[in-house]
């Protein structure tokens, strides 16, 4: 036993790295190694229902506050909400508070255009990239409430009937930080409806705002994105083009199991040492 504990204690961290690496990669070849069924949380359902309840010609605002570092979790969320809006002919305004997110968003829309059913969507008509502004988001929000179009200096048919941010029916903020809190702090003043799509790390920080009703709904981590994909697939979206987050579910399961295993082993070493009152 002591030899085993000694081996564990002196375990080279590269073995941990290797196992985590394999646990992330292998499930992509064997996606069915774990159960794929899971329920939809009420926060995810709420975002879906709100966008689904909008009418043709309404407008939503996507706050794209993430860059490639967080694309694994947040890109599938943004993709699904944008596609859902485009399916319902809802106008999509995409604003980038991060410079490094712009190309990510532009490429997503270009890829969406290659999918069946979206070939005819047009920039400036069905959606628009509003770009980056070198000022704080709160300043952008105040400016949008003064003159939406002038804030970004863009032109297009899409702006018809949108004078201020008050004409936007719903906004979703995608971020891997406390960024949505900037909107949330101004939400009681302006009264706009908003949801958020956040990484699993940030999710717990946003829960109080769900309770106060400042956030109407929330997509929480990779599982939230997969739940959203499933909701769209159930309503008729083609599975082939809408399973990026679901593809990562098995990887999520196995990597967490490996993590639990290491936490357990670490505690085994700790308790063994404590019981025999010696340091191996």
């Amino acid at each position: 036993m002591e030899k085993f504990i000694y081996t564990l204690k002196k375990l080279d961290k590269r073995w941990i790295y290797l196992l985590i690496f394999l646990s992330c990669i292998i499930p992509f070849w064997f996606p069915d190694m774990f159960p794929q069924e899971f329920s939809t949380s009420k926060e995810t359902q709420r975002v879906y229902d709100i966008i689904n309840g909008l009418n043709e010609g309404d407008a939503i605002f996507i706050d794209w506050a993430f860059d490639p570092t967080l694309q694994a979790e947040l890109l599938p969320m943004a993709e699904q909400t944008i596609k859902q809006a485009l399916d319902k002919k809802i106008r999509v305004f995409i604003y980038y508070p991060l410079l490094t997110g712009i190309s990510l968003g532009e490429n997503l829309l270009e890829n969406i255009k290659k999918e069946p059913g979206y070939e005819n969507i047009e920039n400036g008509v069905d959606y628009i990239h509003l770009g980056y502004l070198p000022i704080g988001v709160d300043m952008v929000l105040f400016s949008m409430y003064s003159d939406f179009k002038a804030t970004f200096g863009k032109e297009g048919k899409i702006f018809e009937g949108i004078k201020t941010f008050g004409d936007i029916k719903y906004m979703v903020s995608y971020a891997g930080s406390a960024h949505p809190e900037i909107y949330i702090s101004l939400q009681p003043r302006f009264g706009f409806k908003m949801g958020a799509g956040v990484t699993a790390v940030v999710g717990p920080d946003m829960v109080p705002y769900l309770q106060t009703g400042q956030l109407d709904g929330m997509l929480f981590g990779l599982k939230g994105a997969a739940e959203y994909e499933n909701l769209r697939i159930k309503s008729g979206a083609e599975k082939k083009y809408n399973q990026k987050a679901n593809a990562g579910m098995a990887s999520l399961n196995l990597s967490h199991i490996i993590m639990f295993l290491f936490i357990g082993l670490g505690n085994l070493v700790y308790f063994y040492e404590r019981k025999y009152k010696k340091s191996i």
Binding site: Y17, F142, R189, V207
Partner: protein
């Protein structure tokens, strides 16, 4: 006057901003727009200053430092992206976009992905039940993680419910307490700046 005028500007701006939040009307709206435009102009100049600073720092490194090749590489990439961005824009299909998609995206994502390995290693070394409190922390963390992966629900259908309860109850209460303290601190700081008690922004 070198001290009094910045303090006066600080007072007017802080109080005006504070009042504007509670009082509607054209006067305060215009007041806010003056500052919005001002911030935007300052931020644009700030970007320029940042760019000049990057050039200055790297120029010095190239001239005097032994690790000059990192700086040469950085300057080369900056110049290349500025060149391609200015030449053909940044929209999909352009050389700038190709550099972003095939260079920046994988590099940026890779650096962040390293976190998974460090977190696993750190959990193994540090996540130990040394006290009752740490036992609670560990159990709560495992339940939350299980509730956020499909396997948890497959193991026991109540796992997501327990995870939700932990977040809606204890986690949310803690977060609210922290937020409340932070916002009270922010309010105090505002009053201190307005009345000139806090002068760190004036380099004092």
């Amino acid at each position: 006057m070198k001290k009094e005028i910045p303090l006066l500007i600080g007072f007017i701006a802080t109080i005006g901003w504070y009042l504007e939040f509670f009082m509607a009307g054209k006067f305060f709206e215009n007041w806010k727009m003056i500052f919005t435009t001002g911030f935007r102009n300052v931020a644009i100049v700030g970007l320029l200053v940042g760019m000049v600073n990057v050039l200055r720092v790297n120029y010095k490194k190239i001239k005097y430092n032994n690790d000059r090749w990192y700086s040469v590489y950085q300057m080369f990439i900056i110049a290349l992206m500025v060149f391609f961005g200015s030449l053909r824009g940044i929209s999909p299909g352009t050389p700038f976009d190709a550099m972003f998609t095939y260079g920046f995206v994988p590099l940026d994502a890779t650096v962040f992905s390293l976190l998974a390995f460090y977190v696993a290693s750190a959990s193994y070394r540090s996540f130990k039940i040394k006290s009752v409190e740490s036992a609670f922390l560990l159990v709560a963390a495992i339940l939350i993680m299980l509730s956020k992966m499909p396997l948890g629900e497959a193991m026991w259908s109540k796992i997501p419910v327990i995870g939700e309860w932990i977040m809606d109850g204890p986690t949310s209460a803690g977060k609210r307490a922290i937020l409340f303290g932070a916002y009270l601190g922010g309010l105090t700081m505002m009053i201190r700046v307005a009345f000139g008690l806090e002068r760190s922004h004036l380099s004092e």
